[in-house]
């Protein structure tokens, strides 16, 4: 691939992100403006923004790469990433919006009336965010290394610099527009090359005689345990992601939070058809990428390999642009929500504190990313989902639906889930390829363990059920305004 293609694509996406960010900032300047603007953000914009923030390196590069490696087993990843939003809709969307909480620590503090719960939740959220940023930076390193020939670390550092500049300068405060734009950019960047390739192959008549999709690695198919554990992680991990939950605040009320989630489901369903198609095409026509250890780069390399020439270069540029949109949008969404938590809880909530916190939020995972090697992107993000499902998910679900939850129970459950799942992740990275399957996919036992501890300890400390529980539960579950406009 022509090395300048990757660089140009990266620069164009970064500049576009900054420009849209600043343009959006100008029209929403004060707190009042921001609230008014956020109340009038139509569900379509809001849903596009959620999609833009959610579709990370794992979705854009990792899913196709994993499908190339392990075939239909990997199809559970896009299914789980999407179905996670169904769970979010069923159990969290409307009550969380009605709680009025802006961050997860805000919610747990209001629900359980406890500063300690707030602090523990904040720590968990920051860990989740950092763990989630690392694979984005790995993806950026991979993309820069493969498309430009520069040293791979340049990619990670460049993403962190762009994110820090836009967040610190204030551009990312008008995040809705940027994120919505990036959803459509990512969709275009995957869809156009796939359709072009399909038509080109159909034109040469090769799809009629396409060889059967092969298994390029000879990996054994995953057992039912791995698939089920993965689904537990993805289904329950989605409803605790800090950067996703923040976005629900921009819905005017609980009912529109539900409608927004429905649109998000539609947008994700359309999006994930394309990485799946990429994976199938790659398995059929470019299985050698899996053997050379470049599976995650499948999406980047396929257009050049199958089309070639100027058209191949243009399609490659589009894909690289989409990939950077994925790294930038997810990383900046996470950095903004982490900076909110860190500055509020540690630095006293000033604007200076927010800027400092933003830099801390981005630089710490950069250190991790530079010190570690990239695993399969979809796999490492899958582990982050397992961690979220073992910590944030139980406290949210029980907090919303069970009056008996106490602050002691919440803390005990989060700590248990965090230690079990975190321990499994550390053990897995130490043991490497020899990790037993139940340790490599911990969600199937760490999530039930966290729930169990949370319920048992809450039962044992019944006296600590907050006195505000009736008022809070009423607020969470009753509709906001007369439903005369509803059918």
């Amino acid at each position: 691939m022509n090395p300048s293609v990757g660089l140009i694509a990266f620069v164009v996406v970064s500049v576009a992100t900054a420009v849209i960010g600043f343009y959006g900032l100008r029209i929403s300047r004060t707190t009042g403006d921001f609230y008014v603007a956020s109340r009038t953000v139509p569900p379509w914009w809001n849903a596009s923004a959620i999609g833009g923030e959610y579709l990370s390196a794992a979705s854009f590069l990792g899913v196709a790469g994993l499908i190339l490696l392990s075939g239909t087993d990997a199809l559970w990843f896009p299914v789980g990433y999407t179905a996670g939003y169904l769970m979010l809709l069923l159990f969290v969307a409307a009550p969380l919006r009605r709680s009025g909480a802006y961050t997860i620590p805000d919610f747990t503090e209001a629900r359980l009336d406890s500063r300690l719960v707030r602090r523990v939740t904040s720590v968990v959220v920051v860990v989740v965010g950092w763990l989630y940023i690392v694979p984005q930076l790995h993806g950026a390193a991979l993309t820069i290394g493969i498309t430009t020939g520069l040293p791979a670390w340049v990619g990670s550092v460049a993403v962190v610099i762009v994110v820090c500049l836009t967040v610190v300068a204030g551009g990312m405060r008008s995040i809705t527009f940027v994120q919505a734009f990036q959803y459509w950019l990512k969709l275009t960047a995957l869809a156009v090359p796939v359709l072009y390739i399909v038509f080109a192959l159909a034109g040469t008549g090769s799809s009629a005689v396409a060889p059967a999709a092969v298994n390029p690695t000879g990996l054994a198919p995953a057992g039912p345990y791995q698939n089920i554990s993965l689904l537990v992680a993805l289904l329950f991990g989605t409803l605790g992601l800090p950067h996703v939950l923040v976005r629900f605040y921009t819905n005017p009320d609980g009912h529109s939070a539900r409608r927004t989630t429905l649109i998000v489901l539609g947008l994700l369903s359309v999006f994930y058809l394309f990485p799946t198609a990429y994976g199938l095409i790659g398995r059929t026509f470019a299985p050698e990428l899996a053997r050379s250890g470049q599976a995650d780069a499948l999406v980047l390399l396929l257009p050049g390999q199958l089309i070639g020439g100027t058209a191949g270069d243009l399609l490659s540029a589009l894909v690289v642009a989409g990939a950077f949109a994925a790294f930038l949008s997810t990383t900046s969404g996470l950095v903004v929500s982490l900076a909110g938590v860190i500055s509020q809880d540690v630095l006293g909530g000033s604007v200076r504190g927010f800027r400092l916190a933003a830099v801390i939020s981005a630089v710490v995972p950069l250190g991790f990313a530079l010190a570690t090697d990239s695993l399969a992107l979809a796999g490492s993000v899958g582990l982050v989902f397992a961690f979220t499902a073992s910590t944030v998910c139980p406290v949210l679900l029980l907090g919303i639906w069970w009056r008996g939850l106490t602050d002691t129970g919440a803390v005990a459950g989060m700590v248990t889930g965090g230690i079990l799942c975190g321990g499994a992740m550390v053990a897995g990275s130490v043991l490497g390829a020899g990790t037993p399957f139940w340790l490599a996919q911990p969600a199937a036992w760490s999530v039930p363990a966290a729930f169990t501890v949370m319920v048992l300890v809450s039962r044992a400390t019944k006296g600590r059920v907050p006195r505000t529980v009736a008022r809070v539960m009423t607020r969470l579950h009753t509709p906001e305004r007369p439903l005369v406009t509803e059918r």
Partner: protein
């Protein structure tokens, strides 16, 4: 350029409506709220359970009917079509059904809470 922090006004996200205040204070109001929560939870569990049953049925179907996985529809193997595209309509339909029923439950709660 002034920068502002945007956080949630925790206690006053929006003015509580008259019916909300009544629901928070009176015993009858709390009865209605408890019943609404139970209904919504049951609805969510039923939809989630139904969805997971369909999700589990897909691989079982492929395992139970030999040769089905390799059948090609328009050049695409059937197992890829089923898992790669067929599940998304199921999530969409589940979500749509849930939203309708959840809104209906809330309307019924409002009728009760305001009639008393």
């Amino acid at each position: 350029m002034t920068r502002v922090r945007v956080t949630a006004p925790l206690s006053a996200a929006r003015p509580a409506t008259a019916s909300r205040e009544a629901a928070e204070e009176s015993e009858v109001g709390q009865l209605f709220v408890r019943s609404l929560i139970r209904t919504q939870l049951r609805l969510a569990l039923v939809v989630a359970g139904g969805f997971l049953l369909v999700l589990g049925a897909f691989p079982l179907l492929l395992a139970a009917v030999p040769g089905l996985a390799g059948t090609r529809v328009a050049g695409i193997p059937f197992d890829w079509l089923l898992l790669g595209a067929g599940i998304y309509p199921v999530t969409g339909i589940s979500a749509w059904l849930y939203i309708r029923s959840a809104a209906r439950n809330e309307a019924r709660y409002r009728d009760l809470a305001e009639d008393k």
